[in-house]
Symmetry: C2
Subunit: 449 residues, 2 copies
């Protein structure tokens, strides 16, 4: 364990599973990875990559390069559990590899970390398995069976609730139930896929009947995604103590939302077409191992908040089941691009604002016996902080479309316009550890047909 | 077209695609099929069957027997489009065959109808491909990617709404929007799979905090399921005129519901764990072709109801996009079984009570660009009639658990007890046509762990 780690009072419960792959002193012979904001050798995220002319297969990001895992296997550089992972990941989807659970994933991480370290004896052989990331496409890493979206951002739930119920913003169940709904798996796309502005039924406030038109209140939602690893059988719940073992990794998730469609359709069964036109994720699976240094204790609850029911209570999870991950949303418009203004920050939030941990989400989801499958995806819900600059959606930032934001170009926005690009980033920093990031989750809005 | 068909004023728009496979005069050399309540030669539903020792593959029900489609193919009894369907259906899932759309499915129907007719020259060869249904297991016919549950039963929506909002039972959007939510595909099981009573958070009315306990208000919901055939690309809506071409078939669907869990969790994002512990379907896919004689015009709307918006309006669909299908729910308890009392009818309803047609559901679902995939499943929502004896759930029949039903055994029920068995049936009758049925959709309740 790196000696420089100093726990704060809140975080003194340090995970026991730190190992040499987390050492801040580690450096790689892939020069671009040392100091890389997202993918230093301490990260090693897993994805499905289209390497130039050959078909999609498993890759690992290292700085500005990508390691071809199948090539490692073919060159005899993997064995045992690491080879088992690579074999399960030899197709164009990681579902089978995720199903293997943590053992093979950890074995691959350790082996790849050793192969990529400065001074590794296998460097020459590994170099032949490495491609420049710019020449590759990173695809959806798995076929998502079920997609569930939670609502764990209590500041988001409170701010949005206030727009509709000023005196009673949070439902009575909020602090007891990790609220969630089923989302649409078939609309999930990797970063870079444009989003077409949806049409739908919209009820103008001054009309007694709805119209079918293009959405005028298109919004983003800043979330993390949780990839399920090993699943559970129908009828066999996963306990809070076991839940972490069923998580295969994490990503960024933009839960695009059509607010005007949502307002008219969502009663009484919840959001449907307002969300199912597109969901964008960052395509690299950030492993639980890479995130070990950035686990944190659950944010302290206000004294009047209830204790979670026993089935949602695990001492290890409470002590370090939360995350300290910085989350950022940025926007670029064509006018800003023409003026060379780059991206403008819309929000800076943190995963610590989640009211429930990923383990609590998994446990609640399966508590009725519901079966999760490998590569099911759970969204956390919009992760907003308490401040206006920490809001994870424009609905919050513009107070429901009443207070416009002003961009560096002088343009204003209540909601997103055609050709706006939304970029989400997630970064982990902690003294004594190398910072890592999730890679980008971005998409541009295209007009309706 | 059978000469004996006499259209009523409402149903005078008769589908043009009746053919010889619908003739009431058709009889099969499979003796058990003639007069069979579900599977006469005019039905020919498609499923995935485990035939004795060999692996699961495509079968077609005919009376008390099942035809092995792969064996037909191997014996050279299929060619052209019919063979293409059989080849796509050669594995243990019908997803690939459903993706082919209607052409190959219709070709297979016509060929199998000819092979099974009395006097067919190929009888001896076909006989070697037939097994007794009692010696086979009928499995889930496809891997369900997305499962969406609609809410098209207006009498259900009204009765349930009255329990919560006596003066305003229907939401303002109900008569404009085919309301739906995403369900949980991983919990769908074929008829015969027991359902374990779920546990969940329940808020007792006299307590300020919830408990985590076994559901006490377990209910069924009587629905039809709609199998998607050929899908659509993300961003490419399906018009109302084209929607029927994207439907691969129909089944019965029991949307098991935990009312006490639902009451506490469903605000603000809709049902989640109250539904995701189990959904039971009848495993035979009843083809659109088999149902051609039983199409009907949409039930006339009350004069004050709005016309559907143009995107939901197709003249052919309005004229014969609805169904006249009798739907029945029955119950058996251990005490009734010991007394030899068989099943007791809980409800007799009809698919004519759906406020929206299957084509309108498909069109609405994709109107925002959402992509449907082959073997996605749409539930219609609970199909209740206006009368108490036509209610599709116990929530309605017992008025929210206030008016018990009395069974022949003298037992009473507000909701379902352990070891109750619920059986759903669907039958189509029309003068001048052979009656057909969907087969059974049944399951027994097992106690919580």
């Amino acid at each position: 364990m790196p000696r420089s780690y100093r726990g704060t009072a809140k975080d003194k419960f340090m995970p026991a599973n730190l190992d040499v792959t987390h050492a801040v002193s580690l450096r790689s012979w892939v020069a671009s990875s040392n100091g890389h904001p997202d993918f230093p050798i301490q990260n090693l995220p897993i994805g499905i990559v289209s390497f130039q002319s050959e078909g999609p297969r498993c890759g690992i990001a290292i700085g500005g390069s990508i390691l071809d895992v199948r090539a490692l296997l073919k060159n005899g550089l993997l064995d045992g559990d690491a080879a088992a992972f690579a074999e399960a990941a030899s197709g164009s989807r990681l579902n089978g590899a995720l199903a293997l659970g943590s053992g093979p994933r950890i074995a691959l991480r350790r082996r790849v970390s050793a192969l990529l370290q400065e001074g590794a004896a296998e460097r020459a052989a590994v170099e032949s398995c490495i491609h420049e990331a710019e020449s590759c496409a990173v695809l959806l890493p798995a076929a998502v069976g079920g997609y569930t979206d939670f609502y764990t951002g209590i500041h988001h739930a409170t701010t949005v609730g206030k727009l509709f119920r000023p005196n009673n913003p949070l439902m009575p169940n909020y602090k007891w139930v990790p609220i969630a709904y089923h989302g649409r798996a078939s609309s999930i796309r990797p970063s870079g896929t444009p989003v077409k502005r949806p049409k739908g039924q919209i009820k103008p406030p001054d009309s007694s009947s709805p119209v079918f038109e293009s959405c005028r209140q298109l919004d983003y939602e800043l979330e993390l995604g949780i990839w399920i690893g090993e699943g559970n059988e129908l009828g066999e719940p996963i306990s809070a103590a076991d839940a972490a073992d069923h998580i295969g990794g994490y990503c960024l998730l933009n839960d695009w939302s059509a607010r005007d469609i949502q307002a008219w359709e969502y009663q009484p069964l919840g959001p449907f077409l307002a969300k199912s036109f597109a969901t964008t994720i960052s395509p690299w699976i950030i492993t639980p191992e890479a995130l070990v240094p950035f686990r944190a204790s659950q944010a302290p609850r206000p004294p009047d908040d209830p204790e979670p029911l026993p089935y949602l209570t695990d001492p290890v999870d409470i002590a370090h089941g939360a995350f300290d991950i910085e989350l950022e949303v940025l926007i670029a418009t064509p006018k800003m691009a023409r003026a060379g203004q780059g991206y403008h920050r819309l929000s800076l939030s943190n995963a610590r604002h989640m009211y429930w941990t990923p383990a609590q989400m998994v446990t609640h989801h399966t508590s009725n016996g519901c079966g999760l499958n490998p590569a099911d995806l759970l969204g956390t819900g919009t992760i907003s902080g308490p401040g206006k600059e920490e809001a994870g959606s424009l609905l919050e930032t513009t107070q429901g479309g009443r207070a416009p934001i002003v961009l560096p170009s002088g343009e204003t926005r209540m909601f997103l316009e055609d050709y706006d690009e939304v970029l989400m980033l997630a970064r982990c920093h902690r003294e004594g550890f190398a910072s890592i990031g999730f890679g980008v989750c971005k998409s541009i809005i295209l007009p309706s047909d």
